[in-house]
Symmetry: C3
Subunit: 316 residues, 3 copies
C-alpha cells in the first residue's frame, strides 16, 4: 500500500506525500545495498512475478534483484516463451498467473493502459514497469530519488527533459513526479516529437537545446529509439545529435558546473550523449541504476506488505 | 517415492491408492498457498531442474513456484538456449544435467516416451510435464484434485472430455486417473480426432456434444491446437466451435446447474469455450491453476524425499 | 581473491600455487554436492550475475547451481534479451550491471579479451566463462581437478589434447594449467587446426592420433564445431572422424587400459568420440560435469569473499 494505492501504475495519480513515502523508504533500502551482506528477510515467503511483454533485461533485472535482496522469490515470465504466443489474452495470462498466488505482478507492455487493465482483473498488487508511451513510474521515482540525493531537494529546482517527449513514458512519469515535488520542468526536443498541449502538465516547452538547459539544476537526456530515426520525425542520427544531443563542448558552455545529467539508459553513445559527457563528472547515470534497485525495493516492500518487524531491520 | 514409483511419468502405471496419496498430500500443500507467508522449508537444499523442449511458461512456472514454496532451488533449462541446438542428444543432455546433482528433473518433450527414456538413464527422479500425445500426469492429477474439491469425490461421478482426444496427452492422463478414482468418462469430439479403440481405456465415445454432456458432473473442454485448424482434421474454427464448442446457450440448456467446467489452458476464447462460459460461475479453470501448484508441490515433495519433520510443518 | 587475483580470467596468469588453492578448496565443495542437503550458507547475501553473450546452458547452469549451493543469489542476463540488442556497448552493459551491486560477474563472450576489458571497468570480481579462442579458465581447472581425482597427481603424467587446437579456448586453459601442475602435454589435430609456434607453451605437436595418444595417462578430446566442418579447415565429418576421432577399436589398441578420456561437452557422438568410448569405462566425462560445479563453487567462494566461518562449515 503506497498511500491510498494498492498498485503502482501512474505517478499522475500519486500525491506529493505518496511519492515521498517511497523515496524516504528507498533511502533505507539503498543502505541495505551498501552492506557486504545484501539481504534482509522483509519479504520472505512473498513472491514477485515479472511479466514482460517487451524485452528489457535492465528493468527486469532491477526488479528481480530488488525482490531477492528482500528475500522474496522472483519468477520471470517473458512473452517470447509464454502462452501469449498461443493466442492467450493479456487478462487470461494475468489471471492465470494470479491464480498461482504471487504477491506482486510487475508488468511491462507495449500498450499504454495494460497494467491498469490487469489491475482491474486480479487481486494482487500490480506494478507497471512501463506501458507504451503512458508511464514508467519506477523510473520517475528513481529519477526523483537521484535528484534528491544529488541536489538535496527538488523544491525550487529546474530540470530540463530533452528528447522524444511524445513517445517517452519516462518523460511523462518524470514530469508528474518532479512538478509534484516542487521542481520546474522544461521540455525540449524536435517540434515533431513534442506533444501538443503538454504545457498543461505544468512544464514549459523549448525547441532550442541551449535555451532549455541554461541555468538548470539537472538535465534528463532521453534515449532516442533507433526505430524512429529516419522516419519523418527525425531526418537522421547526425542531425538529431547536432541539434539535441549533448557533447562536452555544449555541456561546458551551456550547463552550470553543478548541473547533473541523467539518462534512463541504455545510452545511444554519440547520439543523445557523447561518451565524454556520459562518463563525465556531471553524469549520475550509474547512480540512477543503483538507485533503481533501492526504489524498486521500496515499491515492492510497500505493496507486498512487508513485515514491519523486518522493516525495522531493513532500516536498522 | 509415490507408492512404488521413483518417477511420475504416466498415470496409466499408477494405482488408485498411489493417486490418492498425491491428492491427499496436495490438500496440505494448498493450505500452505493460502498463507500470507507461502514458504515451508520442506525441500531446502534440494534442487529441481525444469528441462523444457517445448515452450510452456505456464506449466514451467507452476513447477518453479511449487519448488520455491517448498524452499527447493529451481533451475530452468530450455531447449532454445541449450546444447540441444549444438546437436546433443536428449540422453546426453539429461545425463549431463544429472551430473550436476539435481534431485528432480521435470521434462517436457514433443516426443511421447522421452521422459521414460530419460528416467532409464539417470539416477534422479523424473517428472513428465507432458510428452507428445502420451501423458501429462500432473495435469491429470490436478484435474482430479479439482473435481474432488468441487464434487467431494469422483466415485460414481460422470465426466465428459471434449475435443481433440487423439492428440491430447491431457485426455489420456485424465481418463486413467478419473476411471481409477471411480468416475465414468465420456469422450466427445470430431470423428477425425477420436482414436480408434479408445473404449478399451474404460470410456464411452460420443460425437454429439449434447449427448456427451447431458447429465454429467463435470466437463473438461480441451484446447484445440491452432496448427490443426484448417488441416483435414477440422474444416475451420467456426465449424469446430459450432459443433463442439461450449457457449452460454448450450451450457444453460444442456448442462446440469451444478456441473463444473474445466480447461487445461490456455483457452482459445470463442473456439472451444465462449468467454461467458470461461469466466462464468460453473468454470473452475482458475482453481485448476492454483491446484496445479499444490499438486506439483505434492509430487516434488514425494519424489525429492522431503523431510518428514518439515512435512509436519507443511501439514500443520 | 585467488592468490593475487581479484578475477578469474586467464590461467596463463595463475601460478601453480594459485591453481592448487582452487583445486584444494574444490575437494571440500564436491563433498557438499554429495550430501542429501546440498546447501551451505557460505555466500548468503552475495549475488552472482551470469552475463552470457553466447548461448551456453551447460556452463551457465553450472555456475548458477554453484552459486545457489553456496546460498548466493544468481541472476541470468543473456544477450538475446538484453539491451545489447538496443546497441548498448559491452562496457555499458557491464557497468550498468555492476551498479546493481553484484559480487561476481560471470562473462562469456565471443571476443577474446572481453572479460579482461570488463574487469578494467567494474569494481566487482569478474570470472570468464570462455572468451573467443582465448581461455576458458574454469574448464581448465575442472579438467585438472578431474585428473587429480583420477590419477592422484598431474606431476609426471602425460596428457594428449586432440582436436581443433587453434580455435579451442579449452585447449589453451588446459595447456597452461596442466603444464604448471607438472604434466607433459601433447597436442594433436589436423595441421590446419594447429596454431603455429604452440610449442612455446611447453607442449609437443603431433599430427597422427596414434602417436599422440600412445602411452598417455589421459586424453582430452575436443569438440569439433559444426560450423567449421566443410570449410577449408576440414574436408568433412567422416574424414575428421577417421583420422582424429576415437572409437572403441582405436581406444583398445592404442590407449593404456588405465588412460582416462575427457571431453568438455557437448559431444558430437560419432565424430570426435564414438558412443562406445563416450559411455565406456575409461570416460570420465560425467565426472567432469559434476566436478565443474565443485570447481566453480570454489572460484565463486574465493572471489566473493565467502565467510570463513561458513567455509568451516562447508569443509566440515
Amino acid at each position: 500500500m503506497i498511500g491510498r494505492h494498492k498498485h503502482c501504475i501512474a505517478l499522475a495519480d500519486y500525491s506529493r506525500e505518496e511519492i515521498l513515502e517511497v523515496l524516504d523508504l528507498a533511502v533505507s533500502m539503498k543502505e541495505v545495498l551498501q552492506r557486504p551482506i545484501k539481504k534482509v528477510p522483509s519479504l520472505r515467503g512473498k513472491s514477485v512475478v515479472n511479466l514482460f511483454f517487451e524485452a528489457s533485461t535492465r528493468t527486469r533485472s532491477s526488479f528481480e534483484i530488488a525482490a531477492k535482496v528482500l528475500s522474496a522469490d522472483a519468477l520471470n515470465w517473458t512473452s517470447a516463451s509464454s502462452s501469449v504466443t498461443k493466442g492467450e489474452t493479456l487478462i487470461d495470462t494475468a489471471r492465470n498467473l494470479e491464480a498461482m498466488r504471487p504477491d506482486v505482478l510487475v508488468i511491462r507492455h507495449s500498450a499504454g493502459g495494460a497494467p491498469q487493465l490487469v489491475a482491474e482483473h486480479v487481486g494482487c498488487a500490480v506494478v507497471s514497469a512501463g506501458d507504451g508511451a503512458h508511464e514508467h513510474p519506477s523510473q520517475g521515482l528513481l529519477d526523483c530519488f537521484t535528484l534528491r540525493e544529488k541536489l538535496g531537494t527538488l523544491e525550487g529546482k529546474t530540470v530540463a527533459i530533452v528528447g522524444d517527449i511524445s513517445h517517452s513514458r519516462v518523460a511523462r512519469s518524470d514530469i508528474h513526479a518532479m512538478t509534484k515535488l516542487g521542481a520546474r520542468v522544461r521540455l525540449c526536443g524536435p517540434p515533431t516529437m513534442m506533444p501538443a498541449g503538454v504545457e498543461a502538465l505544468g512544464a514549459t516547452v523549448h525547441y532550442q537545446l541551449r535555451e532549455a538547459v541554461e541555468g538548470v539544476d539537472a538535465v534528463v537526456m532521453l534515449r532516442i529509439q533507433h526505430e524512429r530515426i529516419g522516419d519523418p520525425l527525425i531526418p537522421g542520427t547526425r542531425e538529431y545529435s547536432k541539434l539535441w544531443g549533448l557533447n562536452a563542448k555544449k555541456a561546458a558552455e551551456w550547463l552550470r558546473p553543478q548541473c547533473v545529467i541523467l539518462h534512463p539508459g541504455p545510452i545511444n553513445r554519440g547520439v543523445e550523449l557523447s561518451p565524454e559527457v556520459a562518463d563525465g563528472p556531471q553524469s549520475v547515470i550509474l547512480d540512477q541504476v543503483q538507485n533503481g534497485v533501492a526504489v524498486r525495493m521500496a515499491i515492492l516492500y510497500l505493496l507486498a506488505g512487508g513485515n514491519p518487524a523486518d522493516a525495522g531491520e531493513a532500516k536498522a
